[in-house]
Symmetry: C2
Subunit: 146 residues, 2 copies
DNA sequence: TTGATTGCAAATGCTTTGCAGCCGC
DNA sequence: GCGGCTGCAAAGCATTTGCAATCAA
């Protein structure tokens, strides 16, 4: 299910902030958008192995995050960050500890959290990062993927 | 505000699972419980510098997590894990990106998330990890801590 | 042309691991 | 005494950084 995100005009965003449009940035962007999964830097590097150096991938992802077009999470305990292109709908992550799958769950929940905190506690919410670990329906049904 | 957590019988928990009670495990446990903050391993190591080797701190924390008496989070983007003794009330973390403080927010929200997912989606929830980044009320009031 | 950006390689920092000696049981 | 634990030092990995060459504007 590639091309999850509505077409973001990467070139425009870059130029609007005074950054240059480079082949590498376009490639990283396409790799991010072309996947429906959360990608580790290693996975991105594998995709782009001969085209973009891993150091540039890191720098590019950092820039994308700054520009608000990409998002990181660290919900796996293997120490590796996972990236996705920024999604317009706020969502949270369902992490299955059995099969490793990470699903998005879109709903009003994140908005509820925001307003709850803004109104009740004077906390100005910038970013809600909600990860739920557990066992997904598929894994619960079939005992495992033996 | 030390001693946040109700007295957990560490010795009992360890023995119940066939682990040995050692001086180091007691010391790490006291250091964890004696702080109201989330501690990095470095901070723990500083507290216990001449008493417990850092490798043993890592191993001990891993064991504590397995036993359910300690909890890790990685909501700071500095790559360092932060530990706290397991709290009986489910809560989520308010991370102020201005002053770095991490507050707990206890409420029904986590329970809501649980039931929402269990009932609606067949997802068996093991662990809810909710981090909200933003600016705390104190930092919003006084411009900064200059 | 010019300075932002890249590639390469070295370095950093957190965390893990192998192993000999130690200590709880 | 036995086997689990610890300390020490040496890896392991993900990520960052210095620097000369490259390329977008």
């Amino acid at each position: 299910v590639p091309d999850t995100t509505p077409a973001t005009d990467l070139d425009g965003v870059l130029r609007a902030h005074g950054h240059r449009v480079t082949r590498q940035r376009r490639l990283v962007w396409e790799a991010l958008r072309g996947s429906d999964r959360h990608l580790t830097v290693d996975e991105l590097a594998a995709d782009l192995s001969n085209d973009v150096d891993i150091a540039s991938i890191y720098r590019t992802l950092g820039l994308f995050e700054e520009l608000g077009v990409a998002r990181v999470s660290r919900f796996h305990d293997d120490g590796a960050s996972r990236w996705e292109s920024a999604h317009p709908d706020e969502h949270f992550h369902l992490v299955c500890t059995r099969c490793g799958e990470v699903d998005h769950h879109v709903g009003s929940l994140v908005a509820n959290i925001r307003s709850h905190l803004e109104e009740g506690h004077g906390f100005e919410v910038a970013d809600v990062d909600l990860a739920v670990r557990g066992t997904c329906a598929r894994c619960r049904a079939g005992s495992d993927e033996a």
